[in-house]
Symmetry: C2
Subunit: 341 residues, 2 copies
């Protein structure tokens, strides 16, 4: 799960989206380092780390996602069932990113020993997220500690043909589901001491893993690569570009910004949240030209998809409008906080 | 992983083994509550929670085990590689308990944001434990927090015929591998302000998951049920008794207490550690009569196994010597701390 920005973790901090989560290098580098040090994949492991999930012989897809109080959420923002739901939905989103069918979750809980968290309420939320996509709670572990609440959710699913991050080719189209930026905007408003309007709060509190949409998309054909939007469109499209060895050019006029967000935070900030905010848990897919029709929007499994860009030769992520093309870096716009380029 | 006893978590506390870890009910009740609330198992899940690991279609076996600094270990007891090794070995022990072959681990880390833990060193230990049993690190997640170090290790293995906790029948024999009580005794000595002698320290720091032993045992035939000793012999044999709907009678004279432990802590305390201490990560198995020969000890895959008791009709765990038979409760002897019966 994407951490709330350290630089804005205090009450009253400015309303900026989260940028680089883990200091120099960030968590991505750390995970990559762990993985690259691990040598060749064991037999029976078809896809190892570096994608949204590992793929095992027999079509099993497995991923893990950790949520920490004070890092990924604050307890006063959410009820206990909402905390459980959100941690589980975020983890399940990695199965959507592989177009996998969820089967089961295992949940490790570290509960604060002050008794302030109702474990049963937490579990109701966990179960609700799992059962909402047809999965069961099939295992877990529990401990108490004097530290913050920690929820680590392992998700297991099945995919006959998992869709990886690689596969984008020059000429392909880039699409996203739903609308973007609402979740990060809610965090920003909370961190500034405000209370987000209900639709924004809901974007953070109740993400819906796009399981059915991803599977419908795959069944439709033409999907080259797929990822879920946990780090923000710029960062996650960047993963698709890197995995495919291509460049992705996003059209700033096409980004489906969360409805009404520009009215709340201003147009430029709203676009910033949509590009860099993270935790929308929508899908970003690369499809062969025309796979989703000839227009700029389409419906898949009842959810709107929007064409946001195209694949070109090269590398990295670019944002363009009528006037110019700008390379986006992981830190986002220079406008956005200390992590910027 | 079995928590260090809350009642003895402070420096200078008396040298007693850990008893009830989570206050009223303990973590077992909490996990059981979670699971029983989760309804029927999803399709493709052959064994759900309640055993050492879940079993999935295709023979995949999966389990998760969380280790928390200050709860399951203290940082001053261990080097960073040792912390990583121990958390991973403890999790892998659940695969031994199913007689499964390890394939991969996924590790979620919550690192203290004071930078006091060297993530690369931690990872060396994780990898060493995984590679020691032929598994790779195939995924994970990382976050930083102001709280304690948390390591949640998911283990994935393969077993054509996993051995469950159920299956014990009256007349069967109960055996354990290795020797017991060393790990808990080391914790007790640390918690009393001392420094455990190297062999005791090693019992806590460097448990060896009994993977090869469990598989050799299964190949030999006659194994009815199997568990790894994370909660202590009394507690874990209790799980086998409960799962089989039988009673298990342990012979106090046969328990293979850690060599030399009685000289360090006294005979009665040493037996207490062996029965109730936990975290030895040895195997406890129920076998059909004579499966391991006619003697009281045997060697399997180069490791000594000792006959410690037998299965009878009834329920619960009993300890007997020449003079009497005593029912053991989860809290252990009344002699051992406030959690006792």
């Amino acid at each position: 799960m994407r951490p709330v920005d350290d630089a804005h973790a205090e009450e009253g901090a400015p309303a900026h989206p989260a940028v680089v989560p883990l200091g120099p290098g960030g968590e991505f580098d750390l995970i990559r380092r762990f993985v690259s040090a691990s040598g060749p994949l064991p037999g029976r492991v078809l896809v190892g780390p570096g994608d949204d999930a590992a793929v095992l012989a027999g079509g099993w897809v497995v991923s893990t996602d950790v949520s920490v109080e004070g890092v990924h959420f604050r307890r006063r923002w959410l009820t206990d069932p909402e905390i459980g739901y959100r941690a589980t939905a975020a983890a399940l989103s990695d199965l959507a990113a592989m177009a996998a069918e969820p089967v089961g979750v295992l949940v490790s809980l570290v509960l604060p020993d002050d008794g302030a968290v109702d474990a049963d309420a937490l579990h109701r939320g966990i179960r609700s997220a799992a059962e909402g996509v047809g999965a069961g709670v099939i295992g877990g572990d529990v401990a108490r500690s004097p530290g913050p609440l920690v929820i680590d959710v392992v998700v297991l699913g099945i995919a006959d043909e998992p869709v990886s991050r690689a596969g984008a080719r020059p000429g392909d189209e880039v699409w996203v589901s739903g609308t973007l930026g609402g979740s990060a905007a809610a965090v920003s408003i909370w961190e500034s001491g405000g209370e987000p309007p209900p639709p924004l709060r809901r974007a953070f509190v109740h993400p819906v893993p796009r399981i059915a949409e991803a599977r419908a998309l795959k069944d439709r054909g033409g999907v080259r690569s797929l990822i879920d939007l946990s780090d923000g469109l710029a960062g996650d499209a960047g993963h698709l570009a890197a995995a495919g060895g291509v460049a992705i050019v996003l059209d700033s006029r096409s980004i489906p910004v969360f409805p009404g967000l520009a009215d709340v935070v201003g147009e430029k900030e709203a676009l910033g949240f949509a590009l860099h905010g993270g935790e929308d848990y929508e899908l970003c897919c690369v499809v062969s030209p025309g796979s989703l029709g000839s227009g700029k929007s389409a419906r898949v499994a009842g959810v709107s998809f929007t064409a946001v860009g195209r694949v070109e030769e090269g590398n990295g992520i670019f944002l363009e409008d009528e006037e110019r093309r700008t390379r986006l870096t992981r830190g986002g716009f220079s406008h956005f906080g200390e992590g910027g380029s």
